[in-house]
Point group: C2
Chain length 374, copies 2
Amino acid sequence: MLPGVGVFGTGKLLEAVVPHLRSLGFRVVALWGQTLEDAGNVAGSLHIDYFTSRIDDVLLHKDVDLVLVLSPPSLQSQIAVKAMGIGKHVVCDRPAGLCQSELLKMVLAAQYYPSLLSVVGYGLRYLPAVRQLRQAVRDGYVGDVRLVEVRVTCGSLLEGAGYSWLCEPAMGGGLLSLIGSGVVDLVSHVIGQRARRVHGTLRTYTRQTRLIAGIRHVGSDDFCTFQMEMDGGALVTVSLNAHLSGLQQEVVVCGDWGHLTVRGADLLGFRAGQHETLHRAAPGEAAAPPLPEAGPQPALHAAGLLRLLAAVAHSFADGEPLTDAASFQDGQYVAAVLEAVRVSAATQAWTQVNIRSRMLETNYLGMALKAADA
Amino acid sequence: MLPGVGVFGTGKLLEAVVPHLRSLGFRVVALWGQTLEDAGNVAGSLHIDYFTSRIDDVLLHKDVDLVLVLSPPSLQSQIAVKAMGIGKHVVCDRPAGLCQSELLKMVLAAQYYPSLLSVVGYGLRYLPAVRQLRQAVRDGYVGDVRLVEVRVTCGSLLEGAGYSWLCEPAMGGGLLSLIGSGVVDLVSHVIGQRARRVHGTLRTYTRQTRLIAGIRHVGSDDFCTFQMEMDGGALVTVSLNAHLSGLQQEVVVCGDWGHLTVRGADLLGFRAGQHETLHRAAPGEAAAPPLPEAGPQPALHAAGLLRLLAAVAHSFADGEPLTDAASFQDGQYVAAVLEAVRVSAATQAWTQVNIRSRMLETNYLGMALKAADA
């Protein structure tokens, strides 16, 4: 039997996730929301019997064995660490914490309970086009990977939203944190290389909106471009632009003798002078109704998360280990890269990616930025 | 009557340019080639009476009043400077010289003869989609311009070519020089802002080909990404990738309340929640038969050059000044930006764009790179 699930979060994503969990055979046992009112409203509309605004009440619930963390980023790490501490499986939405320290705490917690499932919700890995892309790269379709270009364009992540954590980079808001994290994970997963050095540029152009005005300002980035030098020799360039409309995502992997392109949920290949379509997405493959196409949780990402949850269900049902999922270590790597991009943007210099194995008492990102200022 | 034209160069571009010049009413009087044999062959097939391998013979030809410089970049500046020195009009293909010094010589030569036409062949300016883009930006379609993203993908510029100047960055080869120059000019022309600081990354992945092997190596860049901070506050990101196939060019201009996209030769707009097609290219609009789509002289660029030549013809016929064309000063600005990108790529740091007004005896780019090394 599949474990009972406790869900953290009350966002729109739940409207897609909760019915999906049930269709997979999970029981959704408990729901946590930041206020009791939020929790009650969402629990009511999604028919979840137990709801609360106290984190421990869900974690200690006797029927909850799997914790699904869809809360704002500032709470993700502490929920995940606590959950593992009392022996619950964890699937934690991206970016799974605000900085590398938070991810490192999760990594350390997971090491004490290696039998527990500990997964970061980088669901793009599970899209059929991405799976096939990875396989094709491994099979040598393009030869040695030299270059990866990723381009994501979307509308404002703040569309229709009032002031919230989305407006604050320190709270996990912004394109780099919400979209860039998934891109960094995707690239490493696909080409099997990790970033050694990065150079980044971040911009916030839209500082106020119709709904965020007066003394409120948006501080989170709505444009971001960064380059990564990978340990296997590849160069990766990423451009994220939230000044367009609708989500468009393109990943191009170039090698010695060909290239592969994931455009949306399709996979296209080119080698020996020939173009070919390696995967054509079925209708709805990249969608997660009733979620909209874009917004802070784009449908493409949500569709990936739903597939990840399906893999989790299969893993529990068959007793097989979960393959291809992002571990907390993978999550820490992504956090380290994002930190390096922020330091680079602040210092305007190429910046080393440092993956730490020990906890520091103080905020590493803050220290690095301060050192760069001096 | 239109002036007689002396053409420098024997490349494939001439097969499109010479018939076009004649259809505009120009007489093509003389042809120069690097060897007499080359010149003779091309003159024969294009029915040009006079051909030579001596530069002065074309410049001093009594019926030549307009010099069209389509030679390799290493010769462009000296031909243009000489031509102006003896009172001939000059249209010089991009990049119009190897470094800022060469462009500055052209600027100084042009200042002595202000009545002569002195134009750099940045023909993209003349494509209908680009003209409309510029007008729409000026009319405030997007509001203040914040961001410009340019992405050009193409196949290898060396496809089917043996070892030549195309393989040497010091001789004007490479993506940055051949494609990037046009992009830098285009962006400044469209948004009316100039680069103040740049950050660039250059790579050469393909070092040998089937036709370039043995002791020969390719040194010119086949991948390039750079960012430009503009004097009007906009940020421009450019990505040039010669590891794909066929030419694709996209220019996205984002502003306060909308965005405009030139994709190939089409212009698309978005504002107030609505997409619209502002220009749909007619069949053949972006082509210059018999030139191929891609290669070192992509059809899109050639199509622009043909339109520029048409504007030159109208200007001579009507006695009206030529509007919208790139002056030698514009060419010098582009060369200064390309130099800064090269310095940035070598020093891995953001680099100031310095536009010089005085000649230096020594090579400025070499000095800057040396200073950065020390």
